[in-house]
């Protein structure tokens, strides 16, 4: 690694959470503007229902555009993308999404590790990873991969997390750049947007 990644070098944000994740996501995305300069790509563990209503639910509360990620869709800034249930979501080097039906990882499909590890191949050090509440160790290895590639790692303060197993699993593997509350992550995302100039 030649130099530590600065916040303004971040080209994409990947987020993972499980139990309690909807509330946490809502908190950190509050007040993000419609013209947010980065893509935010999220894997939330949900019950394996066929149709997720996450995108509609979040769109109702956010100004930022929200949609389900689609296979072979090009990733664009200013959009909050959700992984759909039943498929792993990866990012290809060309910065398009792809789906796969490989077996669940950590009982999860989509898996946070798979999203984060593939994001590292696409974005290298220009990546911010955020891992929040959850009762599952999925995401800990993925966040470590982000760290090893020189990206910025953020873990929700376990003391605040609804379920602290997921953030603690991440902390067991690394000392992240930042351990923050949801309100602080929200402030971080907002200032990250402010410092990114088109």
């Amino acid at each position: 690694m030649t130099r530590p990644t600065q916040l303004q070098d971040v080209a994409a944000i990947v987020v993972g959470a499980s139990a309690g994740g909807i509330h946490a996501m809502m908190q950190i995305c509050k007040d993000l503007p419609t013209n947010y300069p980065l893509p935010i790509i999220v894997t939330l563990h949900m019950q394996d229902m066929r149709d997720s209503r996450l995108a509609a639910l979040f769109q109702h509360h956010l100004r930022l555009r929200v949609k389900d990620a689609e296979d072979k869709e090009s990733i664009r800034p200013g959009i909050l993308y959700f992984a759909v249930p039943g498929y792993h979501l990866s990012i290809e080097r060309e910065r398009v999404f792809s789906f796969s039906c490989e077996p669940p990882l950590h009982f999860s499909r989509p898996s946070i590790d798979i999203l984060m590890e593939s994001a590292v191949d696409a974005y290298g050090a220009n990546l911010m990873g955020i891992l929040m509440t959850g009762a599952n160790q999925d995401g800990a290895a993925g966040l470590l991969a982000i760290k090893q590639a020189g990206g910025i790692c953020v873990v929700q303060d376990p003391a605040e997390a609804e379920i602290d197993y997921m953030p603690k699993s991440a902390l067991a593997l690394q000392t992240p750049d930042l351990i923050l509350t949801l309100a602080e992550i929200n402030a971080l995302l907002i200032s990250l947007g402010d410092h990114h100039v088109h």
Binding site: D71, S100, C101, G124, T181, H195
Partner: protein, 297 residues
């Protein structure tokens, strides 16, 4: 002041984003180079073309194979595979993903029954192509549906895949008994008319499906990467196969389907697959968008 402000300030400097640096493509890692060389070697040696598969998933599966075959690197695996066709056949099981279930996404089959079958009934004889049939779960599901609708006897089903071991399993029609409860539930939800157990014989923890379901099924080796169209068809179903391809190869496959389908023929894809980003998006129209059933334009 937000407690985070200081933290954030420490991380930020006032310089502007360097767009060029942020957006430059990532350099190929050694592993990426090895993967590319492996796919080239496999193509040249065995004529299986995985060069236009989506990279992220392929990488994970090759890395698993490297571990399983006790190799130190993809390069070592490549050297062994080049000289050992048996090992290649084992690697092929990693490169293809045989994950399927009968009547997967029951509403897809319900939609076929309600909206596609009535049109298919107007043809004196039918040809259906199950592309990427893997171990045959979709083929048997379709055959059951066609029998209940009185169409099976006048239908030829081409069930194709690149993996000979999967095709062999598909031909046998033997599925693990512990999967049957799920299949039966799917079958009922898909609008099945009988008791699901009337289609198989259970023995030794396995369910052997009625041989006569496959009287008109031709299982065949066919590659969407390298082969061409072999027949005119009325319905192509290709579920959760295209997601493993890059855009270029997706276009090639959709081109084959388009060419194979008769006027206003039907195409069924996996429940979250999309043709929106393909050159062919304007050459099919959705019949049922949610179920990913399209008609040729």
């Amino acid at each position: 002041m937000e407690p985070s402000a200081k933290v954030i300030a420490n991380r930020l400097n006032e310089s502007k984003v360097n767009e060029a640096r942020v957006n430059e493509p990532q350099r190929l890692s050694t592993l990426d180079i090895e993967l590319r060389l492996l796919m080239e070697a496999i193509y040249l040696r065995y004529s299986y073309d995985f060069r236009d598969y989506a990279g992220a998933s392929q990488k994970r599966r090759v890395v698993q194979a490297v571990r399983a075959f006790d190799c130190k690197s993809v390069s070592e695996l490549q050297a062994r595979v080049l000289h050992d066709p048996d090992l290649f056949m084992q690697l092929l099981q990693y490169l293809t993903i045989p994950v399927s279930e009968m009547f997967r996404d029951p509403s897809y089959y319900a939609c076929l029954r309600q909206e596609v079958i009535p049109v298919l009934k107007t043809y004196p004889s039918l040809k259906i192509w199950v592309a990427g049939c893997s171990t045959g779960e979709e083929v048997y599901s379709l055959a059951i549906l066609l029998r209940e609708e009185g169409l099976l006897d006048r239908t030829i089903i081409y069930a194709t895949d690149i993996n000979p071991q999967s095709l062999e399993k598909a031909r046998k029609g033997v599925f693990p008994l512990d999967r049957i409860a799920l299949y039966a539930k799917n079958y009922q939800e898909a609008g099945g008319q009988l008791d699901f157990s009337s289609y198989y014989t259970a023995a030794y923890n396995a369910a052997l499906f009625d041989r006569s379901l496959c009287d008109n099924v031709t299982f065949a080796d066919h590659s969407l990467s390298t082969d061409s169209v072999f027949s005119e068809t009325h319905l192509v179903t290709c579920r959760n196969v295209l997601i493993y391809f890059n855009r270029g190869l997706q276009d090639r496959a959709l081109g084959l389907f388009h060419e194979s389908l008769c006027h206003r023929g039907f195409l069924g894809l996996g429940s979250k697959e999309s043709i929106d980003f393909s050159d062919y998006s304007q050459r099919f129209e959705p019949l049922q968008k949610r179920e990913r059933i399209f008609r040729k334009l």
